[in-house]
Amino acid sequence: MKNNAVKTPCLSRRELLGGMAAVSAAAFFPWATRTWADSPDATSEQAIQDFLMLSERLTGREALDARIAGRVWQALLDSDERFADHQRLLVQAMDDANLTDMRSFKAFAATQPEALTQAAIAIISAWYLGFTGSVEGHSATDNTRFITYTGALMFEPTIDATVIPTYSRGHSDYWVDPPASIATD
């Protein structure tokens, strides 16, 4: 991707954040000292654009939000220091295999190293779930990173009939009436 001059500050920043996260988990530092941004300061537009294009290929979408893409990218970089390399290799492999239809992804994945498949799934999962990392049920803190709530792609397929939790769909007690589309579902 970018040359080392750009990459190095990214890495040191990641190390700093990672270190702080580890320390804060031990409750020595409050997380309040951590500053959040949609994408890293030292990231070029092009890097986000590349990631956005990959995301659109993997999710089969025409237009995903570029700023949300910046968030996903940053979160994945922060969680896996080899992510940038994996991303580059993944794009290369998909181009080589001429993978355009995600329905053939399973066959494609069988021919690829596990790490690349995992990178692809991490990207898809972040867009669908609206967060990265894994939720730990009984812990006050875990390694999850917020991406988007209402924009999570998992809500889309049923949005005509179900509601994004905590948001009202219509007038009070609207839920007593079955959704109009139920007969055709």
Partner: protein, 473 residues
């Protein structure tokens, strides 16, 4: 001799039976007539919104029992019992006394009513309507034999007799039928001015708290809420159709335009929703031709912010500190955090409201697009409660959960992202509205006026003493 007399008695008895028989028939006739009259009176009582004020303090109480506290800038005025209770209500009122109370603001004992009772508007009531109202209150309303606390305002407002001077200044212009105008406009004016007493809230008041007739229906502050300009100007209801006005009067809701809160919601709940379609159309027709008074730029919320670029999800859902400690902090004055926590679940994260607009858009909305943010602040502080014929609207009040800074912050977020971004709300304004709005000049100046009066009396006394002593020398 005896026979004839007994015969006479018998005849007399027969007659008396006959008269009893006809007497038995006539009350049932009378009852039919009365029933119609009583129903008319009930309708008029609704149109005049008597129950909005003369209600008991608790929801479950008897209608018209009184005791409800009306907060006025002069102090608390306690609504009286207007049930036909002889001891505590108006049971002993003759129709003439009833009329005097309604149209002149004078009770049966001769004492003056405070103009919180809109007798300045009711002074235009026709005698027929007063008769119907009297019949309704005396025969259909259940007597409630319970006292209400006496209103006691601070000096000098406790001098009820001072209302005589006030009435001399402001009790005039009773409604009269204008033969030049159509029946619809005459009926509309009677409903708006006399029964509905709309100007009591929508016309600003002068220094002595009388309605400023030069600014008739041009909008005014009422207990923190802003009763908007309802003249035919574009800054008023000039851009509303008659049908939209009718719908608003009946339900307090016109999609992508406005919703009623505060006193207007009460007027709809207790009064306007019961009016006939014809009457609502008459009111709308009359309002549409009220001489226009401009109070700011034209409000056209259907156009407002259509051009506005939709906000990116990344802007609406900012990354923020989500450690447990920060998340549980209730002191945040970040408007967006407060909005997403308190408002977004109904009004949606992008302020568009629900698809059916039951929870209305904050973008196409006079409360956020007008030249005044008071109603936005008040609906956050007090919530909205409005019962219509078909549904109940209930927005929770956040006044106890959010402090003044937080209410200002969330209002400013709504204004900057969804509404008139030129408005700015500060905590001082929130505090003022929380207390029921700005204090009128008359109340603010009263300590000084009283002091001036005392000084004047002392000067006069001093002068008298001086004169007497000089005479003695």
């Amino acid at each position: 001799m005896r026979l004839p007399s007994s015969w006479l008695l018998g005849v007399a008895f027969m007659f008396s039976l006959a008269s009893h028989a006809s007497g038995a028939a006539s009350p049932s006739n009378a009852a039919n007539v009365d029933d119609e009259l009583i129903q008319q009176g009930e309708y008029l009582a609704r149109a005049a919104d008597c129950s909005a004020c003369h209600r008991p303090p608790e929801e479950s109480g008897q209608p018209f029992a009184g005791g409800y506290v009306i907060a006025s800038p002069m102090g608390d005025i306690i609504a009286s019992n207007i049930t036909p209770s002889r001891e505590y209500g108006i049971g002993d009122y003759s129709e003439a006394q009833f009329k005097r109370a309604l149209t002149e603001g004078i009770r049966s004992d001769g004492a003056h009513l405070y103009p919180a009772m809109p007798y300045t508007a009711y002074s235009g009531l026709t005698d027929d309507d007063i008769h119907a109202l009297y019949s309704y209150f005396m025969h259909r309303v259940e007597a409630v034999d319970e006292p209400t606390p006496e209103t006691s305002l601070p000096f000098p407002f406790n001098l009820r007799v001072s209302m005589a001077a006030w009435n001399f200044l402001f009790l005039d212009d009773a409604y009269t039928h204008d033969p030049e105008q159509s029946d619809t406009l005459n009926r509309g004016r009677y409903l708006v001015d006399t029964l509905g007493h709309c100007s009591a809230c929508h016309t600003p008041r002068n220094a002595l708290m009388g309605e400023n007739s030069d600014r008739y229906l041009a909008g005014a502050n009422v207990g923190g809420w802003y009763a908007p300009n309802i003249t035919s100007d574009a800054s008023g209801i000039g851009n509303w159709s008659v049908e939209e006005l009718v719908q608003y009067l009946r339900t307090g809701h016109v999609e992508n335009k406005a919703q009623a809160g505060g006193g207007m919601a009460e007027a709809i709940e207790h009064s306007l929703r019961y009016l006939s379609d014809d009457d609502l159309h008459s009111m709308a027709a009359y309002l549409k031709q009220v001489p226009s008074i401009a109070t700011g730029p034209a409000i056209d919320v259907s156009q407002a912010s259509r051009e506005r670029e939709p906000l990116s999800l990344a802007t609406l859902e900012p990354l923020r500190n989500d450690d447990p400690q920060t998340m549980s902090d209730g002191k945040s004055t970040d408007g967006q955090t407060l909005y997403n926590g308190a408002c977004a679940s109904c009004h949606q994260i992008d302020g568009q409201g629900t698809g059916d607009q039951f929870y209305p858009s904050l973008i196409h909305n006079t409360a956020t697009q007008g030249a005044n943010a008071d109603n936005l602040i008040m609906s956050v502080l007090q919530g909205v409660h409005r019962e219509t014929n078909d549904y109940i609207v209930a927005m929770p009040a956040f006044g106890e959960q959010l402090n003044d800074e937080q209410v200002a912050a969330v209002s400013n977020y709504v204004l900057s992202q969804f509404g008139n971004s030129e408005l700015d709300v500060d905590a001082a304004r929130v505090a003022e509205l929380r207390q029921g709005g700005p204090t009128p000049l008359l109340v603010k100046a009263m300590p000084w006026l009283i002091a001036a009066g005392v000084i004047f009396v002392l000067l006069v006394l001093g002068l008298i003493v001086f004169l007497i002593r000089r005479k003695k020398r």
